[in-house]
Amino acid sequence: MSMSQHIAERASESQIVSLHPSELKDAATRLLKSDGRMQMAYAWYPEPGRIELRYVASIAGQPEFAIWRCEPDGPVPSLAGICPLLSWYEREIMDLFGVEFLDHPQRHRLVLHDGAVAPCPPFDPAYPPDALLQIRSAKQSIPDIGGANGDVQLLPFGPVRGDVLESGEFLFFYIGEAILHYQPRLFFKHRGMEKRFEGLPAERGIVLAERVSGVGSLAHALAYCQAVEAAANCTVPPRARFLRVLLAELERLYNHLHYLGHLCHTTTLKVGEAEGKLLEERAKQLNCRLTGSRLLRSILTVGGLRRDLSPGEWLGPELEALRQAFAAYARHLENTNSHLDRLITTGKLDRRVAFDQGATGPVERGSGVDRDLRRDHPYAAYSELPLEVAVREEGDAQARVQVRMAEIEASIALMPRVLLELPDGPVRSDYEIEPGAEGLGWSESPRGTLFYAVHFGEDGKLKRVKIKSPSFSNWRVFPFTVHDTNMMDYAINEASFGLTIAGCDR
């Protein structure tokens, strides 16, 4: 049995520990002391009227994740003071499930908008189906920062911004060029995607997972499929596991190329922008030629792939040509002082803040946090392939760029290995879902860690699907690099984080 099969089987029986709410704080403190890390928290209804909280944590040196189960018998102690990254998860649970968290430092709404009126929390089984939330007032919970003479000004920007951008509103409290405080108001794009999974057969969920965050379609589908496979104890055939790595790296490639082009847009390096976006287009056209979809959709399924792919003779040379074009592009970027001047020391994210607030992906690796699910919790065929994880210590925009550049190189080096070692055989295996089964799946998307937790009901249909997207984590972190900086650097700093709003808002 190969290592990853072994892991897949162990993951399906991840250690689930039951805790009483009063034990949560001690458990969290112990976890952090032993170099563990909290990954996410969510709630679900095992049956109407009974809520259960779940906490997912990684334990140092262990490929399996630890899961805590906790049934609230009243307000639950907030862990945000011990583990700040949990703050947003707890606020989400307050908004969508109505669970109270004691002594939460930020009690205002996160996912639901301030003026939204709901008959009951939207995930309550009693919520009337298809009853659209209504916004009844324009009240906003924003901090009161006026200054003694009212010299601090407020600039609300959005939700409809310039150019072709995702919707989100950003509040700048500023004096002249200096930003004193920055607050993003997100979740304008909240579509209630997690609830759309409920009642569907496992197979149908993929179509939804692919449409949670368009530029992470493959990573979402992969994490979802692996969660269902863990629940069903299904072993994916070797050829499919290798092809999944190929597809995941193709997604990383076009995303990171877009990132570099867009960053040049913010530093007004016009030819650099054009070149980056042209390379992205080339990568997307490769995706299209290989799978029929520029965003790598409609190819994964539970148990493997929907159909076999034949990368054949053409993909290798195309990747090599792209590698050479990228190497020249990267060399030019690294030699352009006007570009580097805007990146070096911009948007500095301290290692401690990155860890405490839950930064993920190239953002945390640019701040010296050495973590990558592909290596630490391997899935698909990653444990059978050589993988270099790039880490930089500086924590500024340039460090985040360098991590991504190194990842492009690593991806283009990894893909020919996959083509070389690609085994023959079937690409799909059958599976069966036991009533009440549950599973956890994950993938290292281009933007960082992505988790899917799935719970099946007694009818074998999906009962609850929780999605932890990387941008949910990184939006939480991002403001820490904006407070006390200046307006001029804002757009560059935002681009250097490579955030999506769709993934965060769901």
Binding site: S167, G261, R289, L290, N335
Partner: protein
């Protein structure tokens, strides 16, 4: 800085000749809207209708020996599940992506499509060589944005066609909307539309904006632009590729013909 100028010059012209002349449109291998061939349908088979996640395919209530399915491409998210479920060739994969149309009905399959496509509103013809677009993301998955952003890469180079994205709705002629219209984006979307000067037009890009798509319904998502804004151009797709967006825009400006009538490409 001279190194960049040199790099740009050395690259030569990287823009596709399409759509100004025949040539590569960059969509090789693209899996577009499945093609419906009613003659191939098996009796009592419901496989495609059962597997369709957005009810783009439904069984006709009356069975009079004619086509058994209602196929609405305005609801299709090109997931290709029907082409896999179909035991015959009634639903097959196709490269068809040029699905920009003026009327919602044109996206519904019929066995007698009209071949003459209706000309656009005469007022928009004065914008033929210069159109300004305001984009609003009304809750998309960012897939449509990814393809819309690609329009300004050197390969498609939308500027050369005299079509520009603008920041202010005051300067915009066309409102281009993506996403199913979430409860929180309903207000900002309406406000943007109100902010545009008359003559203004609206284009729904992506199946979410046309009909709600995969996210339709529930506690936070709407049904696309239906009942929210009057729509002048519909372009389903999940997402529509950049060439499809260009085709739909040029069709709106009467610079290209409408390719689809009665839910199929009419030559």
């Amino acid at each position: 800085m001279p190194q960049w100028t040199l790099l740009g010059l050395l690259q030569g012209k990287r823009t596709a000749p399409w759509p100004l002349s025949e040539g590569d449109d960059g969509q090789a291998g693209f899996l577009g809207m499945p093609r419906y061939q009613p003659g191939e349908c098996l009796e009592d088979c419901r496989a495609c209708a059962e597997v369709c996640p957005t009810k783009a395919i439904t069984m006709r209530a009356e069975d009079n020996g004619g086509p058994r399915l209602d196929v609405d491409y305005g609801r299709c998210i090109v997931c290709q599940l029907c082409t896999e479920a179909c035991p015959t060739d009634a639903m097959t994969t196709s490269p068809d992506w040029a699905f920009g149309v003026r009327r919602r009905e044109d996206l519904k399959w019929t066995d007698h499509p009209s071949t003459s496509s209706e000309a656009g509103p005469s007022a928009c013809r004065s914008f033929r060589r210069s159109l300004h677009i305001r984009h609003v993301d009304a809750g998309s998955c960012n897939g449509c944005e990814s393809e819309l952003q690609a329009l300004n890469n050197p390969f498609y180079n939308l500027h050369r066609l005299g079509i520009f994205f603008t920041a202010s709705p005051r300067f915009a002629d066309l409102l281009l909307v993506t996403g199913p219209v979430t409860y929180a984006m309903h207000g900002p979307l309406r406000a943007t539309y109100e902010g545009m000067a008359e003559q203004r037009w609206v284009m729904a890009v992506g199946t979410c904006a046309v009909s709600g798509g995969i996210a339709e319904g529930g506690y936070a998502s709407g049904h696309g632009l239906e009942g929210v804004l009057p729509v002048d151009v519909y372009l389903p797709g999940c997402p529509p590729n950049p060439a499809a967006v260009i085709q739909a825009l040029l069709m709106f400006l009467d610079r290209m013909p409408q390719r689809v009538n009665g839910g199929q490409i009419v030559e």
